[in-house]
Subunit: 463 residues, 2 copies
């Protein structure tokens, strides 16, 4: 693993050190005496240019079989490049063709392909400039997430994927079973005999790790999850996945104020980090995918996030004079058009809206003394709308039990969750950030299916 | 989030700076004039001792309600501690009781509880010394995994959890569905109508991300997964979970030799890291859970891993004179008793066994010219046996197609996987490490259900 990769070679100076460079051919330009290859190994957007002097080498038969997509091992030394766009290139003295990519059958030719087409060959799309850049940015954002929380002494917590309880009573669920679905065992009354299922009862894929994270936050103070969550919603849009990764920090001894501070620091940290650490890929997204995106992210990274209550936000929307598709009034859930107005027009920057009506938020949020609102917060950013949703949690037993009942849920299923309020309860708070939503926001990719290696959506679980 | 946590306070010097320390009461010792509290906030095994001079404060009524497990906010200054075991303690001038933990009902009293009992209250067990230590070690190992691969320029890759293909033909699967299981839609011939299921066909939980990782390794060179995987095996043991996290690196331009080097570096890195970064928790495991474990891990961290072929290993076992429950001969899969002999008795250290019989390994492993063995490797360590399994992959199309057929699998389902060999194929290799197996190995915890926050196993999906 000691060989330098192409990203590093491109930063190197010319030298006589012999190099072996493995990679895939992106382009080949041939003239009578010289052949130019661009070799890419995934370490950067830019490939290494390899120059083959045909008169000095005996590689013609290899070059004849070399096509876009072929894998090679090129040998030579780094020399100063007379061309623009790179300071060094490989003066190539030897070349092994490892694997051909016949032009008649290889689906990724030099021409530009639509993202729809590339989704059909998701097993190959990592070989394109766009998906290489997406995967490098996705990687860096993942690591920045861990770095942010580790520096603040949060413990990374793996909450369960399979769960026997429907955490929030929110969202359609996938059922998980080992019963023979064609011919499942039944009880005498004809109902399914779940005692024979793997877990002895119906089980589902999790929609959120939050309730489990609360159990560990009320033991170890600060935890965060970063794992897959699931929604079986039949929404065939550019913004929904059936399987997506979510980040959910949870903090004891923390109120809504502390929660807002953490969320704001988190968003700014991630944006600063990605602009600094992935400049080449971000320049690509800025030029080729969404012009202006880098500046828009930089602005958010440098902003103080404006804070306003939901009641204030509704007031602003009502007085805006703007005609919305969905008319704003107290009690509605904010729509993307409202969130965009608040961030892009009104505040001209990120906004945190707090204290939403109790009726449109989940049962576990801490109730305000007014009896109408809860200590919820949504972090909104220009271009996107909501990027983070969170709340201070109800830490008192009686109002929490009442909220569970009011939402039509069974308190029986929540006894363990209520125990966290019975024993050594503390003010605590947390939030959730959908990771693919973040990657889409940062890259400007239109369709969320294009920011995860193999997307899962209604009707689609290939590869 | 700026307040220092108890781990940091314990390393501080006495000072007049006023402190506010939130946490949970672990113990309370009361005398006529003084009350000693041990406060823990999850940041370290050790708590902060708080001393309350009853004659100087007006806290008696608060202290009366203070029980093990109660949450508090203690105020005071750090003073030199006359006691042993800590250099500072909190001279407490004020104390808020945030949440009581009535002794009559709180299940976690001072006495020692069995791990079986604690599993029944998994939502509270993070409040014990043992599970606090497990979660801190688990957190640190997770981060060390990312650090190791990031330093080597691997990209973190999230492979899909839901899959329509049974990756290896190995292991019992969980089915994932949105059909009404009581009364599913059927076709005219009475069979289930999967066209109405969420993905339009049967779908399952993944048993491995490897095949998907290969698609991105053959595009971006070096990737690794770290995500949940699933086995629906009906094995109620201390070594199996239905849901567990797995790490799977995959490297292009890499053969078995490079794979072994990476695996060896990886294991040594993780063990060195955890001994260095979590000394207090590791001392706890060494004293209270498995005496001698720290020294055993240190030895492995400093070892060169001995390498031998499977054929050599069988020869050693046959000539050992040892009577095994399962008699060794060429063609068997190595049992734990064999792996322990090889590591503990024969090599007295870690061993990498390579080139296993083709018949006992998966279809995707690269075949050796001998026609009998494949380029597989298992990394074995003392006390445990196999900790890592991997291989060089078959990168040639024809032998891979033959292997798929020989294993009784449908080549049709693997066309996308075969494409990776049709277009720009390269030698590549990788391995898998079960994360909970690692945490169990490092902590000495007997039951694998005790090294994951909320274990899932046959008959068990609570919380």
């Amino acid at each position: 693993m000691e060989r330098p990769r192409i990203a590093e070679l491109l930063r190197s100076s010319p030298s006589e050190t012999p190099r072996e460079v493995p990679g895939w051919i992106r382009t080949k330009r041939d003239s009578k005496n010289v052949c130019f290859l661009e070799i890419n190994d995934g370490s950067s957007l830019q490939g290494l240019q390899a120059i083959i002097d045909k008169s000095a080498t005996d590689l013609q038969s290899t070059l004849d079989r070399l096509q876009t997509g072929a894998s090679v091992l090129a040998r030579g030394i780094l020399v100063a490049s007379p061309g623009t766009g790179q300071s060094v290139e490989l003066a190539c003295t030897g070349l092994d063709l490892l694997g051909e990519a016949p032009a008649e059958t290889y689906p990724l030719q030099k021409k530009r392909h639509s993202f729809e087409f590339l989704r059909e060959i998701a097993h190959l799309r990592g070989r394109t400039n766009t998906f290489g850049a997406v995967m490098r940015v996705r990687n860096r954002l993942s690591i920045a997430v861990h770095q942010f929380f580790q520096e603040r002494e949060f413990l990374y917590l793996n909450t369960p994927i399979i769960t026997a309880s429907d955490a929030e009573g929110a969202g359609a669920l996938f059922q998980v079973t080992t019963l023979d679905m064609e011919n499942p065992p039944r009880r005498e009354d004809g109902s399914l005999d779940y005692s024979q299922d793997f877990f002895g009862k119906p089980a589902y894929l999790t929609v959120s790790g939050q309730l489990n994270a609360e159990a560990y936050a009320t033991a170890l103070d600060r935890v965060y999850t970063f794992g897959p969550t699931f929604r079986a919603e039949n929404s065939n849009t550019t913004r929904h996945l059936a399987e997506f990764w979510m980040i959910e920090p949870e903090m004891a001894f923390c109120d809504l104020e502390g929660n807002m501070g953490l969320a704001e620091d988190f968003v700014r940290f991630l944006l600063r980090d990605i602009l600094e650490r992935c400049p080449e890929d971000m320049e690509f997204f800025d030029k080729r995918i969404e012009p202006g995106i880098a500046e828009s992210l930089r602005k958010v990274a440098e902003s103080d996030f404006r804070r306003m209550t939901y009641t204030e936000a509704i007031d602003v929307l009502e007085k805006s004079g703007r005609s919305f598709a969905y008319s704003p009034h107290w009690g509605i859930d904010l729509q993307t058009e409202h969130e965009k107005f608040l961030t892009e027009d009104y505040a001209q920057g990120p906004v945190i809206v707090t204290d939403y009506p109790r009726e449109i938020k989940a049962f576990y949020m801490k109730q305000n003394p007014d009896g109408r609102t809860v200590r919820a917060m949504d972090v909104l950013v220009p271009r996107l709308g909501e990027i983070i949703g969170g709340s201070q949690r109800e830490e008192e037993l009686t109002p929490l039990e009442e909220a569970i009942r009011r939402c039509g849920l069974e308190t029986g299923a929540y006894q363990w969750y209520l125990d966290l309020r019975r024993f050594g309860t503390v003010p605590h708070a947390g939030f959730g950030l959908g990771f693919e939503r973040l990657v889409r926001y940062v890259t400007g990719m239109q369709n969320i299916r294009d920011v995860i290696p193999f997307p899962r959506a209604v009707g689609s679980a290939d590869f």
